[in-house]
């Protein structure tokens, strides 16, 4: 009995810290409609700052804490609102997700650059003192944490309900334009809520650091805990968020206490937030469609089928030349780039056309690779099955979110990626902890694609085929549905389209493309392990896809090549490893508002050049060509004429028929 009490108390302590983090996140989300995925990352950077102030520069703990919470964190929050988050809330959800993922990656880069990996310790507050309650020992740090969370809850309640600026915070969610007419300042209000939000992230991060350690990733992932807690209040209600956080903390604590310490059950502990999240999500009621919103974006032009085939053929020819002359290492790199590019094609479908963001695309590639290795059928059948399995897993992720909106889908994919990364991939029947699986090269119709060169070329071929497939889909009925769904779900609803299963199908299809890429990657490498499919890779992939253009196949290709080059560049300049993350992260922050990315700029330049030079070129060609050319064209045109009239005749007949 006393152990139950002790573990409940421990759970309340972690729960209190989660509640602090989560309430900050809910505050920024409800007042600015920007879901800050980098919330945990801000907490992480500020926990490092706190370490820097107190341990490295030797300030007293209280001074350091106050400096971080009241000066540094609010300043960062104000800055972020001013220069990053302003106006994001009105845009499509996918844009704000991408921008905050960019912040997350950028902040990890900053932390790695400023505080290179080294063992660091943050001591709990008042480490020596504690109290006995019954026969349970409570540390002062735990009491402080719980007291802080109660204070935060009280202050937030008073702020939001009993002050004018707090009321204005809630008003600015409803209608910032009207608030301006009242004389309020939505920007000031938003800056205040960001400042408070980041400050709370810092407080939660600092309080949790003695337990989770000063780690780049563990603290960053706090956002999942916070999100899981906030889900109970549908990302809106602060009291329910506190309840959720406490429940989550206690669940974690009991898991440590009562689950067996070895085998399958021991792996559950780190993924409890993710499991908690899925459980809450299934219980949530249907989300309402928001009306009166058209959030369309102008996308990159869709090329004609002939153009696409032409460029695809060109790419294949270039790839053939490159592969033929490449060393084994270079060929492997090219294969890796092709893998990434195919996964990015799945994002073109899902994010570029569908407007949904997935933070687990590379995890699906991992599922595909796992299926390919386990099926042990290195032929087209095995490849297809791997893709199908990944697709089914993708659909499985999307089903709980069926009734909710795109934001929830994106966030649950992050939880899913962590779940796979920390639990499923580590199982004995999967990749095993730190283990790898042997795979064989693909063989087509009994012919093994043994040599690297041929295999890599086939991967490029797959890229081209999938790319053509994605473009064909975009041009057809499905493509129109996708665009309609992205631009206005409520308009689709009034037309009687059931978007829920369509969304699951889309997500599954995109996951299966990623799975296909993973299976090919497994064949390329010969051995794959869980370390190849870290969840963080999916985030980088999303960012590069958006930077290079997530609405075009060209963007996917360029993004794939860039993602392949990243580790190469990183190993060339190990001291600047963090800078690269900073570049990618903040690059995405800068370019995230235009998902057409660099590829679209390229198209624009191409069109400009063509408009400029084509007339001259035509003139010269006409001068060089004999007259026969145009005669041929005319003949071709003439051949089409009878077909057209036939079509007209049959149309007329149909009309007459209907009249009768």
């Amino acid at each position: 009995m006393s152990s139950l009490f002790a573990f409940t108390l421990l759970g309340l302590f972690t729960g209190a810290a989660y509640a602090i983090v989560a309430s900050g996140m809910v505050l920024t989300y409800t007042t600015t409609r920007v879901f800050n995925i980098a919330h945990g990352a801000f907490g992480m950077v500020l926990a490092f700052t706190f370490w820097d102030f107190t341990e490295r520069q030797g300030m007293p703990a209280l001074v350091g804490l106050l400096l971080v919470l009241l000066v540094v964190a609010p300043a960062i929050g104000w800055f972020t609102q001013r220069f990053v988050a302003r106006g994001l809330g009105e845009g499509p959800v996918s844009v704000s997700l991408v921008v905050t993922v960019g912040l997350l990656v950028g902040l990890i880069g900053v932390a790695q650059q400023v505080w290179p990996p080294a063992p660091r310790v943050v001591l709990p507050f008042k480490p020596e003192s504690g109290f006995e309650i019954g026969d349970t020992y409570v540390t002062a740090h735990q009491l402080i944490t719980i007291a802080c969370s109660i204070a935060v809850a009280g202050l937030l309640y008073a702020l939001l309900n009993h002050t004018r600026i707090g009321t204005a915070m809630r008003a600015s969610v409803d209608n910032p334009e009207l608030l301006k007419l009242f004389g309020g300042r939505p920007d000031t209000v938003a800056a205040l809520s960001w400042a408070i939000g980041i400050s709370l992230a810092a407080l939660g991060g600092i309080l949790l650091t003695p337990t989770v350690g000063l780690d780049y990733y563990a603290l960053t992932l706090l956002v999942i805990n916070a999100y899981a807690a906030a889900m109970l209040g549908r990302l809106k209600s602060l009291p329910l968020t506190f309840a959720g956080a406490m429940g989550l903390g206690i669940a974690e604590s009991y898991a440590v206490a009562y689950l067996p310490t070895d085998g399958f059950w021991s792996t559950i502990r780190p993924v409890i937030p993710a499991l908690f999240l899925f459980a809450v999500m299934i219980a949530l009621p249907q989300a309402q469609l928001r009306i009166g919103q058209v959030k369309g974006i102008v996308t990159a032009p869709v090329p004609s089928f002939r153009n696409a085939v032409g460029w695809g053929g060109g790419l294949l020819a270039v790839a053939a030349v490159l592969v033929a002359g490449a060393s084994t290492a270079d060929a492997l790199l090219m294969g890796t780039a092709a893998t990434y590019a195919i996964v990015m094609l799945s994002m073109v479908l899902l994010t570029g056309y569908g407007g949904h963001v997935s933070l687990a695309q590379f995890t699906f590639a991992g599922v595909g690779a796992l299926a390919y290795a386990k099926l042990d059928e290195p032929n087209l059948w095995g490849l297809a099955m791997s893709a199908v399995i990944a697709g089914l897993v993708g659909a499985l992720v999307a089903i709980p979110v069926l009734r909710l909106t795109g934001l929830y889908l994106a966030l649950s994919t992050l939880a899913f990626a962590v779940l796979m990364d920390k639990m499923i991939f580590q199982q004995d029947w999967a990749y095993k902890f730190n283990g790898t699986l042997q795979t064989e090269r693909l063989s087509v119709a009994g012919v093994s694609l043994g040599t690297d060169a041929v295999y890599v070329w086939v991967m490029v071929l797959v890229f081209v085929l999938v790319g053509l497939g994605v473009l064909a889909l975009r041009r057809g009925t499905l493509g129109r549905l996708l665009i309609a769904m992205r631009d206005s779900p409520s308009a689709c609803g009034t037309l009687g389209l059931d978007l829920r299963w369509f969304r699951v199908g889309l997500f599954g299809l995109s996951a299966s493309i990623a799975g296909l890429a993973g299976a090919l990657f497994a064949g390329l490498r010969g051995s794959v392990g869980a370390a190849d499919f870290l969840y963080f890779q999916s985030l980088l992939m999303l960012l590069l896809a958006v930077v290079f253009g997530v609405t075009s196949v060209t963007g996917a290709l360029l993004g794939g090549i860039a993602l392949m080059l990243m580790p190469v560049w990183q190993s060339d300049h190990p001291s600047l490893a963090g800078v690269l993350f900073v570049l990618v992260g903040f690059g995405a922050v800068a370019l995230g508002r235009d998902p057409n990315g660099l590829a679209n700029l390229l198209f624009k330049v191409g069109r400009l050049v063509r408009d400029r030079f084509e007339p001259q070129l035509r003139e010269r060609l006409d001068g060089l060509l004999p007259q026969g050319g145009s005669v041929d064209l005319a003949a071709a045109g003439a051949a089409e004429v009878p077909l057209r009239t036939m079509g007209d005749v049959s149309d007329d007949a149909a009309i007459e028929g209907s009249v009768r």
Binding site: R164, T167, N175
Partner: protein, 235 residues
């Protein structure tokens, strides 16, 4: 002649390439109620948006009590005494009546005074002060919106389509309130499609069509000529 409270000179504004205001000239004398009438798409609401600072003008000038205010931000204008009640229900649906009223104190009058004025004019709001504004009836929401005009003691009041979506009886009641506000010396520019209701309380009237003011004068003259102006293609 004294300086008019609102003077608009050759104002142009556009949505993208489509020009909506094509040289609007308008003056509202101090203490007067002016009705601005006109068909759909004439640019009335756009004019309100430009005057209140929500939308940038492409050219032209706006003077409020003789001060040049083109390009001023809406929150600044609201704080110096321009009260704009935009089209539709201009309340915050997810805040209670009392919280809505408390936000009105941004315009410069302290919150207790705002509550006092609002509740004495509209006792119904007092009964419902803890209710979410979104759950009030349309007429009650419009009362709440009008409370801002009553309580914040503005120099100029811009009313956009007060009658939208309301029963004629309630519209009449609301215009009684407008008349009462006018008696306290507030200048009002009141935009309306229902000419008769608005002309009943106004001192002057102007008709807008195709982005220009096409007629202006006493309410009686305007009422007589309005059918010609709007339907007869005076634009």
């Amino acid at each position: 002649m004294t300086v008019p409270i609102l003077e608009v000179i050759d104002l142009h504004a556009a949505y993208g390439r489509i020009e909506v205001l094509r040289g609007v000239d308008l003056a509202v004398p101090k203490g007067a109620v002016m009705a601005l009438l006109g068909p759909n798409g004439a640019g009335k609401s756009t004019l309100v948006k430009v005057i209140s600072g929500q939308k940038a003008a492409t050219s032209g000038d706006i003077h409020l009590a003789g001060v040049h205010v083109k390009g001023a931000k809406p929150d600044d204008l609201a704080r110096v005494g321009l009260c704009t009640i935009p089209e539709g229900r201009s309340v915050f649906p997810n805040l209670t009546v009392e919280e809505n009223l408390r936000l009105m104190s941004y315009a410069g009058v302290p919150a207790p005074a705002v509550l006092d004025t609002a509740f004495s004019y509209f006792p119904r709001l007092h009964e419902r002060r803890r209710q979410l504004a979104g759950t009030l009836s349309g007429g009650e929401q419009q009362m709440l919106a009008m409370s801002r005009a009553l309580a914040s003691d503005p120099a100029l009041l811009l009313l956009d389509e007060l009658s939208m979506g309301l029963a004629p009886l309630i519209v009449d009641e609301l215009y009684d309130t407008v008349a009462r506000i006018a008696e306290s010396g507030v200048s009002i520019l009141c935009i309306e499609q229902f000419a008769r209701t608005a002309l009943r309380v106004s001192d002057y009237a102007a008709v807008m069509s195709n982005g220009r003011i096409v007629a202006s004068g006493e309410p009686g003259e305007i009422l007589a000529t309005m059918a010609d102006v709007i339907l007869g293609g005076a634009a």
